[in-house]
């Protein structure tokens, strides 16, 4: 199918099978390898991207499901060359170790702050519950999201 959609604000047209995973479309066809594949079955959140303002798992999304839509990936957050407050806060709290879960965590946190700009710690933990980290743990990540929320006020 002829697929048209926007990625990080740019119009993209691609000739892809309608069932192609959004994850593969982003990583392999468009070279946006910031989005990661963890489990490939919706359990880990590493592939989280934002579609029309809402969080989605790109490993369980087919190309046809983003036709005409706005997709935001981790690359889009720092498109201007300046890190997003969430990214800066994660660096400051050392909330990154191997980094594989980080893009998904940041995109989920981004979705949270869009929905709820002033979350409590509990709300941050609840919202990020679908994003698994197997090395750093969550304390620094939660702190980073709270700090970013503070900075974005």
């Amino acid at each position: 199918m002829r697929l048209s959609f926007r990625v990080n604000g740019k119009e993209v047209t691609a000739d892809v099978p309608p069932g192609r995973r959004l994850l593969d479309l982003l990583r392999e066809d468009l070279g946006l390898t910031g989005t990661k594949e963890g489990c490939g079955e919706g359990e880990c959140g590493a592939c989280t991207v934002i579609v029309d303002g809402r969080p989605r798992l790109s490993c369980l999304t087919a190309a046809i499901q983003v036709a005409g839509k706005d997709v935001l990936t981790i690359e889009g957050l720092a498109a201007s060359g300046k890190l997003h407050p969430l990214q800066e806060a994660l660096l400051a709290t050392a909330g990154v170790q191997c980094g594989f879960c980080t893009p998904g965590l940041i995109m989920a946190a981004y979705a949270l702050l869009q929905e709820n700009p002033h979350p409590t710690e509990g709300e941050v933990r609840e919202y990020l519950a679908g994003n698994l980290c197997r090395c750093t743990g969550y304390a620094q990540v939660v702190e980073a999201v709270l700090r970013a929320a503070e900075r974005m006020r």
């Binding site: 069932g19 809402r54 989605r56 679908g130």
Partner: protein, 287 residues
């Protein structure tokens, strides 16, 4: 493995025609894509119904709410139409993660017909009706008759789920939902209990219970519901009924839990219901 071809119908009528030609409806994909990846039965092609306005609408009426099959859990949670059915919110909030709730749909929960389907429990408690559209017209049946067993439903060839109708419960219902799993988020339940309880002068006038993951389908233990009538909603009073509930469930052992454990948790959940009631922590309980 490449995914089957996906077609996008213009409207519900075309979706029905394509389904009758052998297509399988696709909405959020959170269950279907995982099943296909794991080598489940491959449909000839998929019919993407996830964005058909007819299937996404959530409509409040005088008597209840009609929820389109392709309305996402997040859309339902955000809809003012469910304000009078707090049990829906309690259950849907526990599904997956925010991303999964923005993708998955109530129609998908129904089609998947998992006994662990969190979204199905309120439908059983509210005696919801499932509205189907097919080549020979529409029909509607109670949720308990729609779900036949794990992955098995009353859907006939060419039929798809159009919507679910939920009637508002009588005033005064207190709502409870709790899912027990290996961790708190993103879990498939080991056992879950949803309940609606009406009290009159401190005693149970009516109780509806629906349990998940303890039988081939979500279970309404009618004898236990009847045994609760007339009792105060206290831990001591419900303890007498707990063994009856453990006996009413028909769980299996699997990698998540043993049958005995599930039986015990089912009984314990009844006590948790009473314990929360004692702390005025049920939804709908006046302060």
């Amino acid at each position: 493995m490449p995914r089957p071809e996906i077609v996008r119908p213009r409207d519900l009528a075309e979706a029905v025609r394509l389904t009758a030609e052998g297509g399988q409806p696709l909405a959020g994909g959170t269950d279907l894509f995982v099943r296909l990846q794991k080598g489940g039965t491959r449909p000839e092609f998929l019919v993407y119904v996830g964005e058909l306005p007819e299937l996404r609408a959530i409509r409040g009426t005088e008597e209840g709410v009609e929820i389109g099959a392709a309305a996402t859990h997040a859309a339902i949670l955000a809809s003012p139409a469910i304000a009078r059915v707090p049990i829906m919110g309690l259950a849907l909030r526990t599904i997956g993660s925010p991303a999964v709730r923005h993708m998955g749909t109530l129609g998908g929960n129904l089609a998947n017909a998992s006994p662990a389907g969190d979204g199905l429990i309120p439908l059983y408690l509210l005696d919801a009706r499932v509205n189907l559209a097919g080549p020979s017209g529409e029909r509607s049946l109670p949720v308990a008759e729609f779900v036949h067993g794990p992955g098995k439903t009353a859907l006939r060839l060419g039929e798809l789920i159009r919507s679910v109708t939920v009637a508002f419960p009588r005033d005064g219902a207190q709502a409870y939902f709790r899912k027990v799993g290996r961790r708190r988020a993103l879990v498939i339940a080991v056992a879950s209990l949803g309940a609606l309880v009406w009290l009159e002068e401190g005693r149970i006038r009516e109780a509806r219970l629906a349990l998940g993951s303890v039988a081939p389908t979500v279970l309404r233990p009618r004898e236990v519901e009847e045994a609760l009538v007339g009792r105060p909603l206290t831990v001591d009073a419900l303890a007498e009924v707990r063994n009856g509930l453990s006996a009413a469930v028909e769980p299996i052992s699997d990698l998540r839990a043993s049958a005995d454990y599930r039986r015990q948790v089912a009984g314990n959940l009844l006590l948790d219901l009473a314990s929360r009631a004692a702390h005025s922590a049920l939804c709908g309980q006046g302060g």
